[in-house]
């Protein structure tokens, strides 16, 4: 039978390989937060390729209206150029002035797609509250799993391991977001928060399904060492994990990433990786940590170098 658990430290290392670069980027450049979380204005307009201004020209128009920190991002799609302009907060008047100037100077048929302004106080409180909600939900999951697994030994550990694996998934998503911010100019906005919530929901649900197999096998395979029991259980539910993952992630989300609008593309890619991580961490993080805990392996971590 496939021995997944034997290579558990290899899988932990693989996860760190994805998480650490993102954390380094965050440590150096800070979280790439959008205006949703730090306040400011976001303007999205569409112009035809022939009449579009350069980003420099847009920055100059902003400058003339006393906004000196405009950042312009463009994307080109079939002859239409999409401009995403981020800056400190614009008033309604400043916004109208700027749009009028771009319109009269460049493209008469400019399409206003989006104009968001978020004050600093509201963005701060929304972020704090969303984090608080996630924290309380995580506690509730630990309590619930401890209750649902009360029939077997150390039920509490299953809840804690599910949450550790969930935090792993959050870190993967945040890390991917940070890497994306350096490579493609992504920002963590409210859709990013939505993606994060989705990953959290999926992650705990998947952990419970995988743990359920251990719960089912435990009374039957009482004599078998814990590590073998867990390995046996994950291998048994492997086919289901792969198929569910294929259904939810690869098929539904890949099509969303490929065919969904520009608003959704970034979100679908993050969801794709996040949900993949959700399935991965059930098998390669949550279950192995159960075994590490059972064997109290940390006692040998610093004593000798050999990993199991």
């Amino acid at each position: 039978m496939l021995n997944i658990l034997g290579k558990r430290y290899l899988f932990f290392a693989l996860s760190l390989l994805i998480i650490i670069p993102g954390l380094v980027i965050i440590a150096v450049y800070g979280l790439p937060l959008s205006i949703d979380f730090k306040g400011g204005s976001l303007v999205e307009v569409e112009m035809s390729e022939d009449n579009a201004p350069t980003t420099q020209q847009i920055v100059e128009i902003y400058d003339q209206n006393d906004i000196v920190d405009a950042q312009v991002q463009t994307s080109d799609q079939n002859g239409v150029i999409l401009f995403l302009i981020r800056s400190s907060s614009l008033t309604q008047e400043q916004y109208s002035m700027i749009i009028d100037e771009i319109r009269s100077g460049f493209d008469q048929n400019l399409v206003e797609r989006r104009f968001d302004t978020v004050g600093p106080s509201i963005s701060r409180s929304v972020t704090q509250r969303a984090l608080l909600a996630i924290g309380i939900a995580a506690l509730a999951v630990i309590v619930y799993i401890t209750f649902a697994f009360r029939g077997i030994k150390h039920a509490f550990r299953y809840g804690v391991c599910a949450i550790i694996a969930m935090m792993h998934d959050i870190l993967v998503v945040v890390s991917i977001g940070a890497i994306g911010s350096r490579l493609f100019g992504w920002q963590m906005d409210s859709l990013f928060l939505t993606a994060l919530l989705t990953v959290i929901g999926f992650s705990t649900q998947d952990k419970i399904v995988v743990f359920d197999r251990i719960r089912e096998n435990e009374p039957v395979l009482r004599k078998v060492p814990f590590e073998k029991l867990v390995n046996h259980s994950i291998v048994q539910s492997l086919q289901r994990s792969i198929n569910t993952q294929l259904m939810t992630v690869e098929f539904l989300l890949l099509s969303l990433a490929l065919f969904g609008g520009t608003t959704l593309r970034e979100m679908s890619i993050i969801l794709l990786i996040g949900l993949l991580s959700g399935t991965y961490s059930s098998i390669f993080i949550a279950a192995p940590i159960l075994v590490v805990w059972e064997n109290r392996e940390w006692r040998t971590w610093f004593g000798r170098t050999g990993t199991a």
Binding site: T194, L197, T198
Partner: protein, 468 residues
């Protein structure tokens, strides 16, 4: 067997009800049952429009209750301006969220609705104050402008006395308010009385206020009486004689003469009452109709393509049970959509994400059953035993995993609505609904349909029909 027929009958019944709700047939019947048309309720991010979040300035002690009144006033004002389908809601304990579907040019609407609209007639004695001056009165505190003190104590919301001592500087001096906008009985717009003049707003006072106003004007003939809106001087007419009829008019002078729109906006502001607090715009979002439609259309196309691939995979991999799963997912979709319409649920992008996740969990519930079913068949069980055992083995994991998700989304929903995090709320609602329905379809629909397969396929080639 009778049990199964009963279940089939129930499934059919549910299907008929949800199909009637989902599809635009029998509109009259729907209207008579639900009391309204059942149209999909799209959020602003999908249909385009504008959202503003308003907040009382720092220092005000605001509770949910004190925001109910302004929220209603704002809605009335917007409706009176001819903006339709506007919704204002109190979010959390210090925000009001206003949603204007389909509206793009919002500058003017915002200007009107965010005015507190507090009209005062102020006794300024002999001080002539030019229009535009911000003054302090003994009615509340200054609302905005240069004279507003950032470190002021929390201002009283009601008729509290200002505790700032009067000074010689006319701007810092506290003047006495004779009557306020709350004393108006009716307000109307008057066309220009002479060429070159602007529109004006005519008002009638309640009889009590007319009495006070009459007394004041009688005792102060020759003095100045300032008309003040939101602590800003509109005009400072001289009291030429006692006004006892309780009628009067407000008009802008010179450059600030009112157009019809100006006058009408002022009428709306005055008539629908003044806000007890000044509101600041904390956040505004405008989604153009193109972006909204594009998001909706493309997600629908992407969803259809994704579902087609899922169908194909389920049929190839799980064969007969795969077909059952697709039927079950379709019924899941129909029930979910019917609930969205009936509740109604406003669909936003986060909401769609919640729905997608619940589709995933509905598929998972099917896959869990089928994997167990195949295991049991491989172990040499008969089809009847395998269907039954497969279900019994899969059920605890379906139950516990989905219950955990429902608990999580319940907490997220509660937080979302208590603290005004609308994204979290929209996501949690569709997720919880979807997951609950997915448990129902797995428990009821998939299992019933699977048991229907038993008799015809008992003697067939199980390797082929079940993809072992």
């Amino acid at each position: 067997m009778r049990n199964r027929s009963l279940r089939l009958f129930l499934i059919l019944l549910i299907l008929i009800v949800v199909v009637i709700i989902d599809f635009p047939v029998l509109t009259n019947l729907k209207k008579s049952i639900f009391g309204r048309q059942l149209n999909p309720n799209l959020g602003l991010d999908l249909r385009g429009g504008m959202q503003v979040v308003m907040q009382a300035p720092e220092g005000y002690q605001i509770t949910q209750e004190t925001l109910e009144a302004p929220s209603t006033i704002l809605e009335n004002r917007s409706n009176a301006l001819g903006v339709s389908e506007v919704v204002f809601q109190v979010a959390g304990d210090n925000y009001i969220v206003g949603e204007f579907p389909g509206l793009e040019n919002i500058g003017e609407v915002i200007d009107v609705i965010k005015q507190t609209g507090m009209l005062e007639f102020v006794d300024v004695g002999n001080d002539f104050l030019p229009p535009g001056t911000i003054i302090q009165t003994d009615f509340g505190q200054p609302v905005s402008g240069e004279s507003a003190d950032d470190e002021a104590e929390p201002a009283p919301l009601d008729l509290g006395q200002s505790d700032i001592a009067p000074q010689e500087d006319p701007v810092a001096k506290v003047y006495h308010t004779v009557i306020t906008g709350g004393d108006l009985a009716s307000v109307s717009v008057l066309p220009p009385q002479a060429p070159g003049e602007g529109y004006s707003v005519q008002f009638t006072l309640t009889s009590e206020a007319a009495q006070i106003f009459g007394d004041h004007t009688r005792n102060n003939v020759g003095k100045l009486l300032a008309i003040v809106l939101d602590k800003e001087i509109i005009s400072t007419p001289v009291i030429s004689q006692a006004i006892t009829t309780g009628e009067g008019a407000i008009s802008g002078q010179g450059e600030s003469a009112y157009s019809f729109d100006d006058a009408n906006n002022l009428r709306v502001t005055l008539f629908y009452g003044s806000l007890p607090v000044a509101l600041e715009i904390a956040e505004s979002r405008v989604v153009g109709p193109t972006l909204g439609q594009e998001s909706l259309q493309k997600s629908l196309i992407a969803g259809a393509i994704g579902f087609a691939i899922v169908t194909l995979f389920m049929l190839i991999y799980y064969r007969a049970p795969g077909f059952v799963a697709i039927l079950s997912i379709l019924i899941f979709g129909l029930i979910t959509f019917a609930l969205y319409l009936a509740i109604p649920v406003t669909l936003t992008l986060p909401g769609i994400a919640g729905f997608l996740l619940s589709v995933g969990s509905a598929l998972d519930a099917n896959i869990l059953q089928f994997e167990r079913l195949k295991e049991e068949l491989r172990n040499g069980r008969t089809l009847v035993q395998a269907v039954d055992l497969g279900w019994r083995r899969a059920w605890p994991s379906i139950r516990d995993s989905n219950l955990a998700t429902i608990i999580t989304s319940g907490i997220l929903f509660w937080f979302g609505s208590t603290f005004g995090a609308t994204i979290v709320k929209g996501f949690a609602l569709t997720l919880a609904l979807g997951v609950a329905i997915s448990v129902f379809t797995a428990l009821f629909v998939t299992r019933t349909f699977l048991s229907l397969l038993v008799t015809p396929l008992e003697k067939s080639d199980k390797e082929f029909w079940f993809g072992i």
